[in-house]
């Protein structure tokens, strides 16, 4: 007997909607600071938005790349809305949903009257088709599986407004998965396209049901988005309903940092993405807004690949943690918008548990630990054991802010405890090979944002990102089976409370084993002119222009 969660969810939903409208009121006004409540929103106008990189494609499972995600978020709707403040789930295209006890069956009731921008209806059939593709992928068309969907089996169209999904094993993260941009709903015709047909140059033909439609594209440099005048299916909890306020958004790719920030400061652009930490002051000095929404997932961290002989010794890993002055890194390289990390997960992530006790800076202790592990200082200050120097390689994580600067500082800190850290800067091919090989890269710099406990599994599980290289292809073996089991406990546990407990057990284990050195909680930093009101962000910081209006 499957216990119905619907009534519980509905009740919660009503309460959340009520609370959310209050929260949303406060949060948007605090987020967009002084001016949000000073005037009535105005309809019309063009917003100039400067992107840092050109987008590569609009197939939603590849929307993790920020330029892709920023577009998908504005041209598609999702089944379920995840409130970016509370991280709770609210109705959107689905008016209600039921989950069976072991989280292997999800049933969604759909809203009536929703259409894609090509006029086709958003009904159960097309929703089923969306998730069949995202859940299973289609290698023949080079369309990948969505990282967010686990154990997908099949869909079932119950009636025109009811769709049911079946899973081979419990898939407690699925509800959140339906809310992410990786699950943006596309029209049936769009889903028939090949990978090639989602690429740049085809953007006008990618049809969603979202508040904006791409109307023009100059490959690699410019996109125009226009508001859909008949849009009327925003999440019921959203403060704003109906069509978007803006008429058009002009997205211009401006790769050079100083030009992007300069254009904003000079009043030529309205919103820019990727304001570097060192440029924040310039923007703030002009009285402009700096937004730094959090990515709420696995923190920006150094992952210690414990299957490498140097790092297989717990004492060595503990020494590296103790020898890293994380506070200095945050203070020197970043800004107060980049809070010091206190666990593998971000404070604003669901299931976060403080691990500060394991992360204290103590160079003396680090030196003692290395001594105890048998690493003795050589003539050049670098420690040696059995004739081998304690040299480690870390990758420069190009997509992340100021990776090279941060790593340079850390290599100086490690030198003080006798550890030589080399930074790998290489061409794309060499890099792609090196990061998958523990003999080439022993310390892996990375992060991942997703507002669900599953995120920790995404990062460390052998069949996902496998950042610790716990699974090794060469020997086809898993090094730490306990870690694997703990991670499976996060992704496969249908009971929410137990799932959170399992998530915390993973964080405890990572900290006890000194597998990761968390650095900071990563934000996405945007700058905006003062006349831009109502700028919103989804749960992992992709911009939402639906509620934006121009006060000028």
């Amino acid at each position: 007997m499957a216990r119905t969660k619907r009534s519980k969810f509905l009740l919660a939903g009503v309460a959340i909607v009520a609370a959310a409208s209050l929260v949303a009121g406060c949060s948007t006004s605090s987020a967009s600071s002084d001016g949000a409540s000073t005037g009535e929103p105005k309809t019309g106008g063009t917003l100039t938005y400067l992107e840092h990189q050109p987008h590569t494609g609009l197939y939603p499972p590849t929307a993790g790349f920020y330029p892709n995600g920023g577009l998908v978020n504005n041209i598609t709707d999702r089944l379920v809305y995840q409130n970016p403040e509370s991280l709770k789930f609210e109705p959107w295209i689905a008016t209600s949903w039921k989950v069976n006890d072991d989280a292997t069956e999800y049933t969604f009731k759909l809203r009536d009257g929703v259409t894609f921008s090509d006029g086709s209806p958003l009904d159960a059939t097309v929703v089923a088709k969306n998730f069949d593709l995202y859940g299973s992928g289609d290698p023949k068309r080079a369309l990948i599986v969505s990282e967010a969907i686990n154990n997908y089996d099949r869909s079932e169209v119950v009636d025109s407004s009811t769709v049911k999904f079946h899973f081979t094993r419990p898939s407690p993260g699925f509800l959140q998965a339906t809310s992410t941009i990786n699950s943006g709903l596309l029209s049936s015709k769009t889903l028939d396209r090949k990978f090639e047909d989602y690429g740049a140059g085809n953007s006008k033909d990618i049809i969603g049901s979202g508040p904006f439609v791409i109307t023009d594209e100059k490959v690699g440099t410019e996109l125009t988005l226009a508001a859909r005048k008949d849009y009327d299916w925003a999440p019921p909890s959203a403060e704003h309903q109906g069509r978007a306020y803006l008429d058009t958004i002009k997205l211009i790719v401006t790769p050079e940092d100083s030009v992007r920030v300069g254009s904003l400061v000079a009043g030529q652009a309205d919103v820019v993405r990727n304001v570097e930490a060192q440029d924040e002051k310039q923007v703030e000095a002009k009285g402009l807004e700096v937004y730094a929404p959090q990515t709420k997932g696995v923190n920006n961290s150094l992952n210690l690949r414990f299957r490498h002989p140097f790092l297989s010794d717990l004492k060595v890993r503990q020494a590296l943690v103790a020898g890293t002055n994380r506070q200095e890194v945050v203070d020197t390289i970043y800004s107060p918008k980049y809070p010091l990390a206190t666990s593998a997960l971000s404070k604003s992530a669901e299931g976060y548990k403080d691990q500060s006790a394991h992360l204290a800076y103590d160079p003396d202790k680090a030196a003692q630990l290395l001594d105890a592990a048998g690493w003795k200082a050589g003539s050049d200050g670098i420690r040696e054991k059995n004739g081998k120097k304690l040299t480690l390689v870390v990758n420069e994580a190009a997509p992340q802010p100021r990776s090279f600067e941060a790593l340079t500082l850390i290599s100086q800190q490690w030198k003080k405890i006798g550890v030589d850290l080399k930074i790998l800067k290489a061409d794309a091919g060499t890099y792609a090979e090196a990061i998958l090989d523990k003999d080439q890269v022993q310390v892996y710099h990375s992060m991942v944002g997703r507002a669900d406990p599953d995120v920790i599994k995404s990062q460390f599980y052998s069949k996902n990102r496998n950042t610790l290289l716990n699974f090794e292809a060469k020997s086809n073996s898993v090094g730490d089976k306990k870690l694997e089991k703990l991670l499976e406990g996060v992704a496969g546990e249908p009971d929410e409370k137990k799932r959170i407990a399992n998530d915390q057990a993973v964080q405890d284990y990572l900290a006890e084993q000194s597998y990761v050195i968390p650095l900071f909680e990563e934000p996405q930093v945007y700058g905006a002119a003062n006349h831009v009101k109502g700028l919103g962000f989804e749960s992992v910081a992709r911009p939402s222009f639906y509620g934006v209006w121009l006060d000028k």
Binding site: L50, T56, G199, V219, P255, G262, G429
Partner: protein
């Protein structure tokens, strides 16, 4: 006529060699675009899933067949698809080529004007200090990093003075600063070569003869000096084409313009083989074409070369 045929035949051989060289080099590099794109841990795909995608891309096809297939595609004008974005390479090139062509041609014209201006003024100005200053200008120009110059021009003319918007300018307006940025480093070697040629020709006895006959300086400049000085300058102009493309990479990035330079930079970053292959062939074609044109122009400019060529054929 047979001279022209032979030159065209040589050009085709050069292009085939460039194609083969690029194919082999791109295959020899560590990694490939499919690996870089799909094995990227950020997509979180399992090894089986990646293997399936690789197979769908025909990664198990023998290299020789891949080579023949790609070559056949190129001959019929099908350059394949970008692995990074999936866009047809042909449409990527169609989008960026006119942009770069406009920038390059205008940049080159501006550079030529600037170079001629500097060279003439530095040889014929009546003020010694001006001549000295102008003669040093090319060395200054050549040592200015294009990157820095572009940013400076934007900072001054767009952000400080507000004369030209850095974003959202009209198509003509948007060309002014990039063309200026590109023209400076190209003008420098042109001006240097031109100045030296003028000096050398001025020192030739026939100039003294013309002067003695009472020709005015302007007449000498146009009829005698310029005509003779232009030949070495034309040679260097052909070589400068490479510089032009390199300058375009930086200029296009700084000014956020679409173009072949920026496309190249992005394709290199993701090792997007089909795009790179097409760019190599395209650059080789243009290079061959420019040199062919310069070679065919020589005999028209210098009658002595015409007889030599005639004798050789």
């Amino acid at each position: 006529m047979s001279y022209v045929f032979r030159r065209v035949g040589q050009a085709v051989i050069v292009l085939l060699a460039a194609f083969t060289g690029a194919f082999i080099l791109l295959q020899a590099l560590p990694g490939d675009a499919i690996m870089i794109k799909f094995e990227n841990p950020e997509l979180g795909l399992s090894a089986d899933q990646i293997q399936n995608i690789r197979l769908s891309y025909g990664i198990d096809t023998p290299l020789v067949i891949q080579y023949v297939h790609t070559l056949a595609g190129f001959i019929t004008g099908d350059f394949g698809y970008s692995i990074n974005s999936g866009t047809a390479v042909r449409s990527l090139l169609a989008e960026v080529l006119p942009q770069t062509a406009r920038l390059a041609v205008l940049g080159f014209l501006a550079a030529a004007l600037l170079a001629v201006g500097i060279a003439f003024a530095s040889t014929f100005s009546r003020f010694g200090w001006l001549r000295k200053f102008l003669r040093n200008l090319p060395s200054l120009f050549i040592s200015v990093p294009v990157f820095w110059l572009g940013i400076m021009l934007i900072q001054i003319f767009s952000f400080k003075l507000g004369l030209i918007p850095a974003v959202g300018a009209g198509p003509a307006q948007a060309l002014i600063l990039p063309v200026a940025t590109l023209a400076v480093p190209i003008a420098a070697p042109l001006a240097q070569v031109l100045t030296r040629s003028i000096d050398e020709i001025n020192a030739q006895p026939f100039i003294a003869v013309v002067q003695a006959k009472g020709a005015p300086p302007g007449w000498i400049l146009w009829r005698n000096v310029a005509k003779n000085a232009v030949l070495p300058t034309l040679t260097i102009a052909g070589v400068l084409f490479g510089e032009l493309i390199a300058g375009a990479v930086v200029t296009e990035t700084v000014f956020g313009r679409a173009g072949i330079g920026r496309l190249t930079e992005q394709a290199v970053a993701s090792q997007d083989t089909p795009v790179l292959q097409a760019i190599v062939i395209l650059s080789a074609s243009v290079f061959v074409l420019v040199n062919l044109t310069v070679d065919l122009l020589y005999p028209l400019l210098d009658p002595r070369l015409k007889t030599k060529v005639g004798a050789a054929t």
